[in-house]
Structures are given as structure tokens and as C-alpha cells.
Amino acid sequence: MRKVLRAMAKPFTDTTGTARWMLVAGIVITAIFVICAIFAPLLAPYGFAQASAEGVRFPKAGPPSGDHLFGTDRLFFDVFSRTIWGARTAIQVVLLSILICVVVGVPLGLVSGYYGGWFDRILLLVMDALFAFPSFLLAIVFSFLLTDILGGSVLAVALSLSAIYIPQYYRVVRNTTVSAKEATYVEAARAIGASDFVIMRRYLFQNVVQSVPVIGTLNAADAILTLAGLGFLGLGIQSTDAAEWGHDLNRALEDAGSGVWWTGLYPGLAIVLLVTGLTLVGEGLNETINPTLRVRRLLPVHMPAREER
């Protein structure tokens, strides 16, 4: 247990200077959004698709006021509530998609890199083809296909985001596996009689997943943007299903000309902040994990005072 905690604190304890502050700032910003996401029902004064309270209809596109901190939009929804509920959607989608990416991409990369051969080559070709595509276009295509099957749900969007990020995990894990499997300790594992599965699980896995957290956080930031982009095009989650910042931005487009600034500002600000936070975490992690960038923290050595005799 202590070992796990120490390993988790490692990015923080190992870093210094800018990397450390990037990490701290990123974690704080991200944590705020995560808290919003978890406690959205408590923090948000109204529901995300609530247009009236106690029988009284909210004003249409009402400016920020005591009742509605960030104002209301044309559909009578409370902008503040939708922004907070939006965090929940965003975090849900991103977590789900990263989970899918890791669960699919890492084992695929391990197996493909370890065994090589035809399977590896075909998979590599498919992944490279996916990778070579403009990712946003791919997300659009996938969300088209998936919303027909699954409807405009969180799962559908998460799946279409995973589809565009899986190649990155696959690539990184596969390439590190290809080089790691030549290491003597893998041969040594074989020499003690370990099976391929044991070698992949106990010998290669820990040595090849090192950069996955970095890709994960950086992809999370990217995924927020892609999610918002999909919502903006009206392809993602519909406003009655869940609050989604990109979709709100789309609706705020018409407001911008008529002096209604609050419907667009707050969701947009939320996107910018969360993306910034996640990117800072990712870059901070990268600087600690990537040995070519890492500046290790030097701990001052305290010599015990010499005993006078």
C-alpha cells in the first residue's frame, strides 16, 4: 500500500521548478472540475434541462442575476447549472473513452508487439490508417455510425472518441514492447520457464505502460475539445439527454449577435479551463516520466555537525 502511494506521489516528489508547478496547477484545475462532476446534483441549483422552478418559468435569455448566476438561455435553461452539469458529461465521456482506449489499446499493443508477424503487421496497418486520418473527421464518422446504433448517449460519444485515440496507445505500447521483448530479462523469464502470457503480464506490462499516463492525460485534453466540437456540430449528446458545453456553444451562436454574451462565455470558459488543466497535468507528467526532459529534484545533503572533541 505504501509502495503504491509512494509510486503515485512520485511525479510530484521527483520534480522541481516549472514541471512541478505545472503539475500542481493542472491537478488543482482538474480537481475542481472533477468535484463539479461528482457533486453536480448538489452544486448546481437546477437540473440541466429544467426550465422552471416551483411552477415559475425561468426568463428567456435572462441576464445574470441573483437567481441565475450566469443567466438563462433561449430554452429557459439556467446557464450556471448547465455549465456544472456539463463538467459531469465531459468527465464521464473522457474517463470512459480513456478507459476503453487503455483496455483495448494496451493489450493489443502488447500482444502485437510481442508476437509480431502477420497479426502485428495487419494491426499496424489498420492503426496507422486510423492514425493518418484527420482525427476530428474520424470522430464525426464514428459518431454518425454509433449514434444510429446506440443513440446520442455518453457511451456512443465515448466510443467514437476511443476509436480515434486507440491507435496512439497501441502504437506507443507496441513500439516499447518490440524493443523491450529483446531485453535479456525477457529471455531470462523464458529461461525460468515463464509462458508468453506470464512474460507479457509480469515482465513486459510494467515496463511498457510507463508513458501511458502521459498519453492518457494529454488525450483527455484533446478529447474534451473533440467532444465539444462534436457537440458544436450537433452530433454528440442532445441537450435534453445531458448538458454538453459544445452543444450549448452551438446554441449560443445566435445569441452572440444580440448582446447575449453569457450563454456562450461560461461554457466556453469551462472548456478552456479544463483543457488547460489537463494539458498542464499531461505536460507535467511528461517531464517527470520522460527521461530526456526530466530535471530531477536535487535534495540538499545535510551533513551532521562534526562532533567537537
Partner: protein, 557 residues
């Protein structure tokens, strides 16, 4: 040192391990052959229970491959390895893994041989875990016992350590602990001390001897360091290019080396006495290319005692002429060079070498000059005839003898200088075991693969066009696709296949003699493939969103 019993524990019969060379990535894709390296080439060796056998040789002599083959880590191409009566080649993967409990290995670089992500306890205990010991506490007891055996104490201090926290000697002790924890009877030690500090080497060797005494181990000690082998081994096998050239008791090998290679290795041991300047006539040059070993005895190009029947060939002639030129002035070289012409073709090993471009007589004069400089070179004795051919001469070499291992006193030697003592017939037969490798087949022009590649490539590149011409026309005419198609997938796949075929044609087309028109065909097919790929992928972009009614059709025009 316990005297080894005569009971064989491992019996290696005619073992060969050949590796296919890999060409370019596409050569691999289409499975073409780039030759083989005979890492281990027909080795017979019997390990008796309780003895230490040393495998000594330079890098590339196949000693490590032989060690790995003992564990089944390197697949045997031919021959058999019997461990206590079981043939390793017959065992399934699962049974082979189970057998590794009995044959273990110690590696050269202890830092690389330990998983950086495992603590000492996990690393050593994993050997038990993979053999089915589930209980962690049971494992721990065994691990502590093994670590104490290899002299890592207090054990508690090391259990939680990672390999990076240990010194090289400590790591090698951990590797030894991991090797002995399953209770093996044979231990293959692949240069176990060569990466260690001098101060630690003797300690590790002593530890290994102690372990042998305590646990009744049999060692295969792989090294290039004869000095440590002298201290450690009961028997020594000298290896060169995948074969054993001399094998016998350590004392006899050191006291009375017979094979010229053994003599050379012994001379290479540094002499601590600065006053004694022994003539160090070490082998010339480097270990030859194992992909196409020299004819006859593989050591003959470097041998100081070579004879006319050692298997002289074209590459030796080239080395001789180029050696001659290193002692000429620039003008002389230029003159002689113009007589002889290009020597590159001599790299293709053959017993009939054609040289000369300025006329037969001049070439003969040149060869006489080379001969006059070094008349004692045994290669001159290996030449059967020199015939005039066109503007040069054809040097015909004598068919070489590839010596088999033969008894000579207490040892066995593979050298023509030590003709067979016991049975002449057998030895003569084994001489014919390995005829000199035939010259590479030169297939002119077309072969079946080339034709196949062309046909497949053209079909893959053109079929999607033809099959979906209708849909494409519809798309062009109406601007909107009405029928859903999978044209994109087919197009992309076809494009990729066609590109692959084209590339293969470009790099490998037309067999060994690559005619330029096959390259042209390759370029055309590859280009068609690219076109098809672009065609397919552009339709994917343009078509897919149009399938849904959500996007208005302006997008698709």
C-alpha cells in the same frame, strides 16, 4: 572438486541451429529468403553429471547459441538434445517450460537479466511462481533460503530492493539465486563474470563452485576467457563458427594445444611478465561472415598452419591480392589494378576464380609477382591450374577438405594436420558430411513469385475501379450517392495490397538478376496502388457523412 561421474546427463547429437537472415521489411512480408546463418553447425557433445564443460570461442562462434539451445530457447534446426533421456525437440511448449526447472541459465549482464520493475523477492520467487507455487509465504521461505545460499545476507536487507539498488556482483548473485531456486541439475552460465568487476569475478566463480558442490550441479560454462576456463572447467570445447574444433580435458588443452585456433587463443592470453616478449602470431583478420563461411576448414583464412587442402577459394585470392597491394606504392598499384580489373566478383565464394582484364599473359605475370613476394603462402599449393580465359585467367582451386572431429591423443581435434587415429572410413565419410556450399543459384529473369506478384498487384489495383465504376459514375453525375457502398474499404485494401506487391516487385522482382523492366512494372503497380488507395479513402471522406440525413446534401456536392 568432485570427480565427474561417467553418467551422461545431457547428450547433444548433430545439433544445428540455423537462423534465416532477414532482408528488407517487404522481403520479410513476402517471405523471400536472404540466406541462413549457421550459428551452430552439427555439434556433438555429452555432458556427464557433475562436470564443468567450458565452451570457449570468439564472438560469433555460436557458443551462446549452443547454450540457449540447451534450454530450448534457440530452436534446433537439426539434431537432438537429450536431457535424461528426453529429447527436447519432442517436447511441447508446456512440457519444455516445465523442463526448464531442471536446466537453468545465468546471463552475462546481470543488470539486464533482472526485470527492473520487480523486487529481488519477486524476481527470485517468480521462478517458483511460474512452476505453480501459488503460496506467497512458501515462496518467501524458499527465496530466503536461496538468497542465503548465494551469500546475500542479511536477506531482509535485499528482499525489497530493486535491481537498480544493487551492485553488479549482488545482481549476479540474485540471478544465481533465481537459477538455483527451482533445484536444477544443469546450469548454463553464459559468460557469468565478464561484465563484473575484476575484484568480484573470482568470488562469483568460487560461489558457483560451492553451489556445484552443495547442489550437485552440472555446468556449461560459456566464455571467451581461457584463463577463467582453466580455473573452472573439467573439459573445454573450443568453438569456431558454429563448430567444435577441439575438445578435451582442460589440462591437456592447455598443456598440449593441437588445433591452430586453440594455439592462437592460448597465445592471446595476456602474459603478466613484461620481460617476456613472445611472438604473438595471432589469427589474421576477423571472424568470417557466418552467412557464407569459408570453404573447407572454416578457420583456414586465418590459420598460421594452413595446408594446400584446407579449402582455398576466390575470397582468399582477393584477400591475398589486396594484401599485396597494401605493400605497393600508389603508381604500382594503379598499374597492377588496371591489369587485374575489378575484384568485387571474387566475394561470391567459388573454387574457380576468374581475374584479369588486360590480357592473360599480363595477369599471369601479375600473379607471379604476388607469388614471388609471398611464396610460402599455402594458397599457392591449393591452386590446381591457371587457365587462360578471354582477357584474363581462371584460377582453379583444389577442392578443400572439411575436417571432422577426430581423436588425437586425449583430445578430439577437427584439423587436417591431425589425421584420423582410430577409424579411417568413418572420418573419411564425415569429411563428406558438409560439402562446400554451392554457389548461389543465379536464376535469370522471371520466376514464379515475380509473375504472381504482378498479377495479384494488378488485380488488386484495378478490380475496385472496375467493380465500382457504376457507383463512381453515379457519384460524378448526380453529385450524391444514393446507394450505400463499401467501395472505400475495398479501394483502400486493394490499394494497399497493390502497393505492397509493387514495392516487392521493385525491390525483389525478377529473381536474383534484377532486370530493369521488373522495376518499371513494380513502379506502375505501386503507383496504381497509391491511386486506388487515394481513390478509396477520398470516397470514404466524401461519402460517409452523406449517408446520414442529418447533414444537408450541400456537403456532398
Amino acid at each position: 572438486m568432485a570427480w565427474p561421474s561417467t553418467e551422461p546427463i545431457v547428450d547433444i547429437r548433430d545439433l544445428s541451429v540455423h537462423y534465416g537472415l532477414r532482408g528488407g521489411s517487404l522481403a520479410r512480408l513476402i517471405g523471400s529468403d536472404a540466406g541462413t546463418v549457421k550459428a551452430v553447425d552439427g555439434i556433438n557433445l555429452t555432458l556427464r553429471r557433475g562436470e564443468v564443460v567450458g565452451l570457449v570461442g570468439e564472438s560469433g562462434s555460436g557458443k551462446s547459441t549452443l547454450g540457449r539451445a540447451l534450454l530450448g530457447l534457440a530452436p534446433a534446426t537439426e539434431g537432438s538434445i537429450e536431457f535424461e533421456g528426453q529429447d527436447l525437440a519432442d517436447l511441447s511448449g508446456r512440457r519444455l517450460r516445465a523442463l526448464r526447472r531442471d536446466i537453468q541459465m545465468v546471463f552475462q549482464d546481470p543488470s539486464a537479466a533482472l526485470n527492473p520493475a520487480m523486487t529481488v523477492e519477486e524476481a527470485v520467487g517468480d521462478a517458483l511462481r511460474v512452476h505453480g507455487m501459488r503460496s506467497a509465504s512458501e515462496r518467501r521461505t524458499k527465496v530466503i533460503d536461496a538468497l542465503e545460499r548465494v551469500g546475500l545476507s542479511p536477506v531482509e536487507l535485499f528482499l525489497e530492493k530493486y535491481p537498480r539498488d544493487l551492485s553488479g556482483g549482488q545482481k549476479q548473485r540474485v540471478v544465481l539465486a533465481r537459477a538455483i531456486i527451482t533445484g536444477p541439475s544443469v546450469l548454463v552460465a553464459d559468460e557469468p563474470i565478464s561484465m563484473l568487476d575484476m575484484s568480484v569475478r573470482a568470488k562469483i566463480l568460487q560461489l558457483m563452485l560451492d553451489l556445484k558442490q552443495d547442489l550437485g550441479l552440472t555446468y556449461v560454462y560459456i566464455t571467451h576467457d581461457l584463463a577463467s576456463a582453466k580455473f573452472f572447467c573439467d573439459r573445454i570445447a573450443i568453438m569456431y563458427l558454429g563448430r567444435v574444433v577441439e575438445i578435451g580435458p582442460t589440462e591437456e588443452i592447455f598443456a598440449n594445444p593441437r588445433h591452430p585456433y586453440t594455439k592462437a587463443l592460448l597465445r592471446a592470453i595476456p602474459d603478466p611478465d613484461p620481460g617476456r616478449q613472445l611472438p604473438r602470431d595471432l589469427p589474421r583478420g576477423e571472424v568470417p561472415d557466418a552467412a557464407s563461411p569459408p570453404f573447407g576448414c572454416a578457420f583456414h583464412p586465418r590459420c598460421n598452419e594452413a595446408t594446400p587442402i584446407c579449402g582455398w577459394e576466390s575470397r582468399d585470392l582477393r584477400a591475398l591480392i589486396e594484401g599485396h597491394w597494401t605493400r605497393r606504392s600508389a603508381e604500382e598499384y594503379a598499374g597492377e589494378r588496371s591489369i587485374v580489373g575489378d575484384l568485387d566478383h571474387l566475394d561470391k565464394p567459388t573454387t574457380g576464380a576468374t581475374i584479369g582484364s588486360a590480357g592473360s599473359a599480363e595477369t599471369r605475370v601479375f600473379l607471379d609477382r604476388v607469388r614471388a613476394e609471398k611464396p610460402d603462402e599455402p594458397i599457392w599449393g591449393g591452386i590446381d591450374a591457371i587457365n587462360d580465359v578471354g582477357s584474363g585467367v581462371r584460377v582453379q582451386f583444389r577442392e578443400g577438405v572439411d575436417p571432422a572431429l577426430r581423436r588425437a591423443g586425449e583430445v578430439q581435434v577437427a584439423c587436417v594436420l591431425y589425421p584420423d587415429e582410430p577409424t579411417g572410413v568413418e572420418a573419411a565419410e564425415s569429411d563428406r558430411d558438409r560439402p562446400p556450399p554451392p554457389p548461389e543459384p543465379v536464376s535469370a529473369g522471371i520466376n514464379r513469385r515475380t509473375v504472381g506478384l504482378t498479377v495479384v498487384g494488378l488485380i488488386a489495383a484495378l478490380l475496385p475501379f472496375v467493380a465500382f465504376a457504376g457507383i463512381t459514375r453515379e457519384f460524378v453525375q448526380n453529385g450524391v450517392l444514393t446507394s450505400y457502398s463499401r467501395i472505400n474499404v475495398l479501394g483502400i485494401l486493394g490499394g494497399v495490397v497493390a502497393f505492397g506487391c509493387g514495392w516487392a516487385l521493385l525491390t525483389k522482382g525478377g529473381g536474383a538478376e534484377r532486370a530493369p523492366w521488373w522495376k518499371a512494372v513494380g513502379v506502375v503497380v505501386a503507383l496504381l496502388g497509391v491511386l486506388q488507395f487515394l481513390h478509396g479513402s477520398s470516397l470514404l471522406v466524401a461519402v460517409s457523412p452523406c449517408q446520414s440525413e442529418r447533414v444537408d446534401s450541400t456537403w456532398c456536392r
